[in-house]
Each structure stands twice: as C-alpha cells, then as structure tokens.
C-alpha cells in the first residue's frame, strides 16, 4: 500500500472507530474522556462494559458528561486502579440513589456501599466536581491522594474516606452525609474544606495531620476528632452536637480556632501533652478540658 493509501486507511479507520465508539475518546490535549455513553461498552482498553468505569493505566482522564449510576443499583461509578492518575470531573456530577434527610437524625435511604470514586492505587488526583447518593463519595485505600475542589453530599456512609498516608483534601465541601464528612489517615492535610450537617463527625483524622482553615458546623458527633499528633489551626468549629475538637492522642498544637456553641466541650484533650493558644471559645457546653494553655485564649470572654 502506498504512503497515501496507508494514510487514508488509517484516517478512515480512525474515523470509523471513533464514530462507532470502539476506541477511547481522547481530546486534543491527550486527556482521555469519560462519558455516560461509553460506560455501557467500556470507555477504553481495560474497562469492562458497565459500572464501574475502570481506570487501569496511568494518565489524565476527564468527564465529559454526568455519570448517573442509579439504574445500575449499588455500584462504584469510577475505580482508579493505576498509579498517578488524574481524574478531572470537569464540573460534572456522579449520581447514585441514596438520599439523606439531614438534620440531627440524618437518615439515608437506601444505604449504599458503592463509591462515586474508589481509589486503590497511589498518587491519584480527583478534582473539580460533585458526588451524591453513593455509599461513600470517595474511598481511597491508597497513599498520596489529592482530592480538590469537590462537593460530596447525601452519600449514605461518608463523604470522603481517605484512610491511608499522605492524603491531601483541599477545598472539599462534605454536606449531609450519613456518617463522617471527611475521614483522613496519617500524614494527611485537610485545608479550606467544609463539613456541615453530617451524621457522624465533621472531620475524623486518626493519624498525624494538618487541619487548617476549615469550617466545621452542625455535625451530629464531634466537629473534629483527632487521633494523632496534629496541628489544628484557624478552623471555625461551631454548633456540633458533641465536642468541638476532641484530641485523643496528645502531642498536638491547637491555635487560632473559633470554637462556639458545641454541645459538650469546646476543646477536649484526652492527653495533656497537647497545647493551645489564640483560640476563642464561647457558648459551648463547657470550655476546655486537659491540654496545656500557651495563653492568649479566650473562654466565654475571659482569658484561659
């Protein structure tokens, strides 16, 4: 076949496969596209037909439509099983069937187990979209995940579950999920995020973490429960139905937080090796138990 014919052959084949949906859709910038239409046939090599969309090769992926998993039942929508994957939700939404009532009783029905995005390989980035109605919005059982600019609401278990090491959660809003809003493991960071009206804790951080600049309001249990040697700084922690901040491990630094109207303790330290300064507490069931004051704190208008 001549060069011309070979060129035309490949051009024709490319067009045909693209039009028939056989080959993966790849944008001009090389990003692999995922949409509702490809789910039923498999979006790219390695992805079996149906949910979940399975990412098994490193690279950059993005949604080009909403993915509505309600007709498929209790499933994962997307599963990341390759290292160093970036998944841009591109403003689209992952949707499943659970609806949570919100409020202090916050019940969800049906109770799903699937995840909007399930990450099993390290180094994934998921960003820029919203996830609702699954069991978990996102489950990461891998290290070094970055979850950014996401809204996860009305998922019947947790908004975000990222229990392994070195995960970053930035600019995430977790709202009205059945249990904890955000759960993060060791050496993690939760920054500029919001946990509001969740059925468990606002943020459950059970390793050594940095939690900074967050708004944690009206959760059914503690605003923050921390189980490691951590820094809790410049958060607004208000109106939670148990403690504002409950530090269970000691060795933590707590500064610059506004802690108000939480039902039990504003700041509760189980171990006295934690220290606190520049916190302002008001209207909590009680002010501070345990820990060591580095001064410059205010408790109901008095120094503490």
């Amino acid at each position: 076949m001549s060069r011309t014919n070979r060129f035309l052959y490949h051009l024709s084949a490319g067009l045909a496969t693209a039009l028939l949906g056989i080959a993966p859709a790849v944008a001009a910038d090389g990003v692999v596209e995922i949409d509702a239409a490809c789910v039923g046939v498999g979006c790219f090599p390695g992805d079996s037909p149906g949910f979940p969309v399975e990412i098994t090769n490193p690279g950059s992926y993005k949604l080009t439509s909403n993915l509505d998993a309600r007709v498929a039942g209790d499933v994962d929508a997307i599963r990341i099983a390759a290292v160093a994957v970036t998944l841009d939700l591109a403003g689209f939404q992952l949707i499943s069937s659970s609806v949570c009532s919100g409020g202090t009783t916050n019940t969800c029905s049906p109770v799903n187990n699937g995840a909007g995005v399930r990450i099993v390989s390290q180094g994934a980035v998921v960003r820029n979209g919203s996830i609702t109605g699954f069991g978990h919005g996102i489950v990461s059982s891998a290290d070094f995940t970055r979850l950014q600019d996401l809204t996860v609401w009305s998922n019947s278990v947790e908004g975000i579950f990222a229990a392994q090491a070195g995960n970053q959660i930035v600019g995430v809003s977790a709202y009205g999920n059945g249990s904890h809003g955000i759960e993060v493991g060791a050496a993690g960071m939760v920054r500029r995020s919001t946990a509001y009206g969740n059925g468990g804790r606002g943020i459950f951080a059970f390793g050594d973490n940095l939690l900074i600049d967050n708004s944690i309001y009206g959760n059914r249990m503690d605003g923050i429960t921390g189980g490691g040697f951590s820094i809790y700084a410049r958060n607004v922690i208000a109106g939670n139905h148990e403690h504002g901040l409950h530090d269970t491990a000691g060795g933590s630094l707590v500064f610059g937080n506004a802690v108000s109207s939480n039902a039990i303790w504003g700041l509760l330290f189980d171990v006295n090796t934690s220290a606190y300064s520049e916190n302002v507490l008001s209207g909590n069931g009680a002010t501070i138990f345990g820990g060591g004051s580095l001064l410059q704190n205010a408790c109901n208008g008095a120094a503490c």
């Binding site: 949409d35 591109a90 919203s130 607004v236 506004a258 108000s260 410059q296 704190n297």
Partner: protein, 316 residues
C-alpha cells in the same frame, strides 16, 4: 502509477467519515469536552432543552456549563430587571470561561450609592433554592440591577470572579456553608458581599467602594486574607462565632464589627469613626493594628489577648 492510485472505497470512507464528523460537530453546540455551551446567540431561542426563549437562560439540569461569549442584556427594554442566567438544579458548574455578563447599571466613582438605573431586580446569575452546590467561576459580572450573583441554595461556591457596579449587593449567598474565594468586588450600590447562611467563608478577596458595607456574614463565618475598604457603612460585619484572620479593613464607619464569640487575629482596622473594632460579647482579638484617628479604638465587650497596637502606637 498503480501504487499511487487511491482506492475509491478508501476515498469514500474518508469523505463519509469526515462528513459525519463535521455534521456531528455542527449538531452539538459548544466545546468537545461535553460541557453545555451558553452564548449570546442562543439566548433568544433557548440554549438547550428546558430553556425557554429569551432571558434568563434557564439551567434546569445538573452538569457543567460554559460561556462561549459575553452575555449582554443591555439591549432589553428594561435591562435593569433582566437576569442573565438562572439555575434551578443541584450540582451545576457554571464556568464563565473568562467572559463577562453585562447589565446596564453604572455607579459613579467617588460617590458610593450613586448607581443608575436604580431599583432593578435583575441578577447576573441567580441560583434558586433548588440550586444546591452551585459553582460559578472564572469570569466577570458587571452592572446588573440587583445582584451579581444571588445564590439561595446551600453549598454555593463562587471563585475567581470580578464583580462591579451592581444596583444592590454584588454577591449574595444566603444558603449554608457558601465558599467564596478569589473575588474582586468593586463599587456596588449595596454591600460588597453578603453570606447570610451559617458557615460561610471568604478567602483571598478584595472588596472596595461599596455603598452599604463591605462584607457581611452569618454565624460561624470565616474571612481570611481579605482586603475590604468601603464607604458609608462598616467594612466587615460578622455573625456569632466567626473568625477573621489577615484582614485589612477600612470603613467609613466602624471598620470591623464582629458578633459574640468571634475572633479577630493578625489584622488591621481603621475607620472614619471610632471604635474601629466593635466586639460582641465573648469575642476576642490579638495581633491587631488599630490606629489613626480618635479613640476609643475598641468598643463593645471584646477581650484583648495582647500583642495589639492601638491609637498612637500604644499597646492595648
């Protein structure tokens, strides 16, 4: 020569494929990335299913939308009452794509509150209570009769938007836990930013020359890395249990007024009338510069946690 002859079948397949490809592109409006395109041309006819012809462009389905041109309502008979985009679905991402929404209002420089035409009811982007988790980002909104962005649903996010010269308040987010960042807000007839719901936050923003105060929030709000300088009313006014850090505030009136149980840390406040900082009960402050003008610089019932510099440089 035979080797260079192009098989007719291949030519036909190629041309057919190209035709289909171009036909598909023509039938689907907008970018190839699947987002729904919104532009000035489609507005009179309806941009997509669910959008009736004319203003506002009505978004009634979740998903991602992107402007592909400016949207200008100034040619309408009473443009101050026209809303450009209305969102009535959860989970909508509206990327302004660097484009601008234009309304007719102009506010005079140096005369806060002198905006014409006045009394309008139109918004640049209006999110109804159904618009949970509305996100508006990356563009400009100027000159609408009422608000630049009015977000009634919870979880609104507004990022990297420039807003100016609205008839009333530039940004209104009355749902819970609104997250605002990267805003440039200038010279509106009302306030600059109002987050009425609990747990709102404003980060990395500048708010200036708005007539009726700079930033006003509900309870448990946080302002961080914000410059707010404004006329007639105070610069920053917060609800209960709020936190202000790294705020530069100048008000033609009290600069910063915080609700009970709030904290003000590592900031500067100055006003044309004293006190520059007014604290509700059980509020506290530290690391502030409160200087120039008269005394007292602090009013209300706040507790100094020390390391503040007040009038004439004295510690307070």
């Amino acid at each position: 020569m035979r080797a260079h002859r192009t098989p007719r079948a291949l030519v036909a397949l190629t041309l057919g494929g190209l035709s289909l490809a171009f036909a598909g592109a023509a039938a689907a409006r907008g970018p190839r990335d699947g987002r729904v395109a919104v532009d000035q041309i489609c507005a009179p006819f309806g941009c997509f299913p669910g959008d009736a012809p004319g203003w506002p462009i009505e978004i009634t389905q979740p998903g991602a939308y992107v402007l592909t041109s400016n949207l200008d309502v100034r040619a309408e008979p009473t443009p101050e009452n026209v809303t450009a985009v209305q969102v009535a679905a959860p989970g909508v991402d509206l990327d302004l794509g660097g484009f601008a929404l234009h309304g007719p209002v102009i506010c005079a420089t140096g005369a806060p509150g002198s905006c014409t035409p006045s009394g309008g009811t139109g918004d640049g982007v209006r999110g109804t209570s159904a618009a949970l988790a509305l996100r508006v980002h990356d563009g400009s909104i100027t000159g609408f009769g009422r608000n630049g962005v009015y977000a009634e649903g919870d979880l609104a996010t507004i990022e990297r938007v420039r807003l100016g010269q609205m008839g009333s308040t530039a940004v209104v987010a009355i749902g819970a836990v609104a997250r605002l960042s990267g805003l440039l807000v200038l010279r509106s007839g009302g306030a600059g930013v109002y987050t009425g719901g609990v747990g709102g936050s404003l980060f990395d923003s500048s708010v200036a020359e708005d007539a009726l105060g700079g930033v006003s929030t509900g309870d448990a709000a946080q302002l961080q890395t914000v410059v707010v300088e404004t006329g007639i009313a105070g610069a920053a006014y917060t609800g209960l249990g709020s936190r202000l850090t790294h705020v530069e505030a100048w008000g033609d009136g009290k600069a910063i007024w915080v609700g009970a149980g709030s904290s003000v840390l590592h900031s500067r406040a100055e006003g044309s009338s004293t006190p520059y900082l007014f604290c509700g009960q059980q509020a506290a402050y530290s690391g502030l510069i409160l200087t120039y003008g008269g005394q007292p610089v602090v009013g209300g019932s706040g507790l100094s946690l020390g390391q503040n510099a007040c009038y004439a440089g004295g510690a307070c």
